[in-house]
Symmetry: C2
Subunit: 318 residues, 2 copies
Amino acid sequence: MIPLTLPETAGFLREHDNYIMLTHRRPDGDTIGCAAALCGGLRKLGKQAYVLENPQFTEKFRPYLEGLTIPAIPDNAVLVATDIATGKLMPLSAEDYVNQVDLRIDHHGHDDAFGLRGYVDPTAAACGEIILDLLRLLEVPVDKPIAEALYCAISTDTGCFRYSNTTARTLRAAAECRDCGADTFAVNQVMFLTKRLERLKLEAYLTAHTEFYAGGKVAVSAIPEALKLELGLTEDDIDDISGFGREIAGVQIGVMLREVGSQGKISVRTSPAYNASAICAHCGGGGHKAAAGATVDGGLNGAKTAVLQAIAAEGVAL
Amino acid sequence: MIPLTLPETAGFLREHDNYIMLTHRRPDGDTIGCAAALCGGLRKLGKQAYVLENPQFTEKFRPYLEGLTIPAIPDNAVLVATDIATGKLMPLSAEDYVNQVDLRIDHHGHDDAFGLRGYVDPTAAACGEIILDLLRLLEVPVDKPIAEALYCAISTDTGCFRYSNTTARTLRAAAECRDCGADTFAVNQVMFLTKRLERLKLEAYLTAHTEFYAGGKVAVSAIPEALKLELGLTEDDIDDISGFGREIAGVQIGVMLREVGSQGKISVRTSPAYNASAICAHCGGGGHKAAAGATVDGGLNGAKTAVLQAIAAEGVAL
């Protein structure tokens, strides 16, 4: 990837046309909000621009994509990837185009050479912060739909400013979205203030079944495959459940196990005193210090045995 | 109350000394954060300043009050009330001083004449926004403890920027707190990202027992008095539970009933299409359009009958 400055990125977008925005696999608010906002902004500059349909778009984010999507990549399109960290995360609808991404805009600090050229700023909490700066450089008048897409991006990637990645820049970017007319409360209601009854039932199940070890320092929760059908859970309901155990008062290591066929998927979340990545490495997985994962054989029982052994190996007396 | 401008308020604080900060009954993050921040700021100006102990301070907020509190009001003290909307909300430790509050700083737009002089700005989402502006006018160097007290005030009164009262000013004030060294994530972890297991058990109970009417548009939840003991709930656990039903997808009118002796306390939360205050007026109570309350005789059953009749009287077919 040829690294560009932000003004060079703006220059590239001014010089070309026929843009297709790409979102990442299992798309979230940041990738969708960025694609929608940049697409809308480029249209305001008189460019033709679309967001490529992603078969994994969920209901919650559909309003941001209204009137912007296209089912397939047309010939001679300029491909722009927003918030796609690696080539492995290309959407299923564009897997074959991994070597043809003309411009990549991202905030993930990976060493992936993915993308012909691009701008990557790992200091941004959300890719949406970068897109806001870019639209300013392009002198795009940011209207309500663009501002709401950006606010969706910025707020969802920071847990509505609750997570540790939130900076003063994040909060000021959100303030700018409001200045530009975003109904931030309407976004918050959908993203942070409403839970489906099914999701509440999942949380109630986990509250009743979570097991505690090491005097309450370790919490292990498990979701059997049958529960999804039994409670009528969607992917949106299960989406961000991995943090459940970690967020119980006193818990320093929160483990979420998910049964997927004959395998057990392990998600570990830790407070700063512990290393989720080191724990998951014992199980053949990896990730970041505060959040990591692994997949093992033997379903939920296999996963539970493996992760407890791994936690013990990291020096926690269970 | 003689209304002051913000510069006049700053002038008053510069001219006097021996300050005692007062917090409101059932104190929250805004009243405590403001009292702590202003107390710390006045000390930096060389003034003697304390926060009056409030018998209702809860554990969660104790860190902000470290080294600042005094058990009783000394002679010749200048009393400053932060975030106290009416004389009826004076702390139990200063009930007899309701006519001796020298300065009132608040963001509640009531017509209460309470306080000898004061500055009230109802456009501020949190009183903390006003205190930040005031400390700027006083040229107080805002350090980490003051910035964290202000961030606690601003974030808790807006549900970490999720509620409809949040403005661009709110977000920029929070950004300023970060600029001044506030560890906003540490505050968020305690206030928004950690739940006691007992609280989760309360939510699980409510998930299992909430009743729905009008095709899911109305949700009625109830907390029997015995549940508090049974689940080991503290006031902090129950504190903000009134919104529980309203935040379930599809619900427009969320009712929370609480058994208190032979009485039933009704809390109603509504979406913009309904009027919580009008509903509670039928039960002899009142409040705001989106949030209101009432207390009736007959325990939980009496309260349930009364509130369902009131909702029907407001034109909802149950």
